[in-house]
Amino acid sequence: MKVLLIAQVGLLRLARDRTNVFFVLLAPFLLILVLGQLFGGQDGLRLGVVAAQGQLADRLVTALGSGTRVTVTRAADEAALRTAVERGEVHAGLVLPASYDASLAAGRTAAVRYLIRRTDLRSHDVGTWVRSVVRQESARVLGVSPTATVTVSTAGRAVFPEGLSAFAISAPPLLLLFTFLTSLTAALGLVETRALGVSRRVHASPTRVGTVIAGEALGRVAIALAQGALIMAGSALLFGVDWGDPFGAVATLLAFSLVGAGAAMLLGASFKTPGPPISLAMILGLGLSALGGGTVPLESFDPTLRTIAHLTPHAWGYDAFAQLVRHDAGFVDVLPQLGVLTGLALVLFALGTWRLRRALT
């Protein structure tokens, strides 16, 4: 009962702070929307093409521009196209060889080259369209030249499977960012409780220190879970994000919330005044998220940086959600990530409990 009451007061104080209406309720969804637009959204796709004049080449370029989503622009040469791709002026480039018409007319294979920027997630969307059009065009050419063959193959597993919503890419890292950040900033409540003398007063009541610690721990977990669950449910309803296997998604949210709550306990128990912990909360909340795939997808990191990223809980949460959201993984598939997160949470809670007990007695 006392444990619940202490936890309840933590939540009540969070809810009464009006600034949290923005930071806890609105900001996550605004960022999902903005990053979703960045990763895909509703804007049209742009494809640059380098093609010599020729009947067949012109027909392919016309076909590529016949859809409603892709706008085709011609580049003067391959160097200009490469620059346009690198600058993000187009999402992808297609280079038809100068001998395109001649090769096909002679019954030979004509290889086209597709240029992308690795970090431009929309290039995958354009690629789907280009493959589809080239396949159709090849079929038409086959009718003219029976000797031509078309082979489309995919190696390995696509990082971002076709048809994946842009919001499904942006929502999981933001859930991790805000769950951790809200946990850490709410740790300020624990610092205040001690600075105000309320914890001292509670200690003078017939309430055991263990009860106070359990109540504070439960409060931290409740805050983290509430933030995470809000983003999970809100992004599903507002942006249609499919979080995959419910057991796996809830388990990942719970494990990550425990990490956030443990970190908040440690932070809140380590300082006597609110100034330093709030600065540290912002630095840790934003820094660990950025390193753990919160702003740029982990897949675009080089191997060394990816290894370093996995020193953060965010990277493990990112991996778990990537499995669940993009690849139809289940609870069992994300057990390794859940194990790491739970272990980290236990360490943080142990340290936080030790610090809080010292601070209260």
């Binding site: 009962m1 006392k2 009451l5 007061v9 009540l12 104080r13 009464r16 702070d17 409780t193 105000l196 003398g197 309320v198 001292r200 007063r201 509670v202 200690h203 003078a204 009541s205 017939p206 309430t207 055991r208 007695t361």
Partner: protein, 238 residues
């Protein structure tokens, strides 16, 4: 009268500083005992040990004849010098929270909270955030929390510090009314006129030691303040 609180040879040391040095006194049922001393005399440290938020290095504390434990804590009401309240919650929410910490049941707490709000004159502002209260209102609520669970002993650490004369008068009236109902009060203050008005007995402490003890009239030669300054000196304290 039997002693509700007995303190014998209490001692507390912080590294090189001896904050409380063999302090001893007793507070009886229905009695108001004033612990007087300049800043740094060891009053708040002694009170912290009595209410159980600080461990003593040596000495003995007995509440109703028992060594301090969770049961004796339920007999003691604590009004700290600092406003130990959540400023972003209302008076009623603060009282509800602390009633829970004292193990009061919901229905019992609801009735008692209404009584306490009436007693401290905050019934009409009960559902406003404490942050919107004046200093005097916050002080009254601070006392109200200490009274919530009907303690036998109320420990008040400078409860009128920084309040206006109206609120001070109201607080002193309340304390007198409560002691009239049998509550024992351990009271620390800097204001000698408060001690003279409220206290049945006073103890003057400095450097953690009891310098003298008696009724205000016994020690008031020519008045309590003169005795206080004669015993503790006129040098300024931090």
């Amino acid at each position: 009268m039997s002693a509700l609180l007995e303190v014998v040879g209490l001692r507390k040391r912080y590294k090189d500083i001896v904050a409380v040095d063999g302090l001893g006194f007793a507070v009886h049922e229905g009695e108001t005992y004033g612990l007087l001393g300049p800043n740094g005399a060891g009053k708040t440290t002694a009170i912290s040990m009595i209410v159980g938020v600080l461990d003593a290095d040596a000495g003995e504390i007995r509440v109703a004849g028992r060594a301090p434990d969770l049961a004796t804590r339920a007999m003691v009401g604590y009004v700290p010098q600092q406003l130990a309240l959540y400023p972003d919650l209302t008076a009623r929410q603060n009282l509800r929270f602390f009633s829970g910490m004292y193990g009061m049941r919901r229905a019992q707490a609801r009735t008692r909270i209404a009584e306490v709000l009436e007693l401290i004159g905050l019934s009409d502002r009960a559902d406003h955030a404490v942050a919107t209260y004046s200093g005097g209102m916050s002080r009254r609520l601070n006392i109200g929390v200490g009274l919530l669970h009907r303690p036998r002993l109320l420990v008040m650490d400078e409860p009128t510090a920084g309040v206006d004369p109206q609120s001070r008068t109201s607080i002193l009236d309340s304390v007198q009314r409560l002691t009239g109902e049998g509550l024992a009060v351990l009271y620390t203050t800097h204001y000698m006129e408060e001690a003279e008005r409220l206290c049945d007995r006073v103890g003057i402490v400095d450097h953690g030691r009891m310098l003298t003890e008696g009724t205000p009239s016994e020690l008031g030669d020519p008045d309590l303040e003169s005795t206080f300054l004669r015993l503790t000196g006129r040098a300024l304290r931090d």
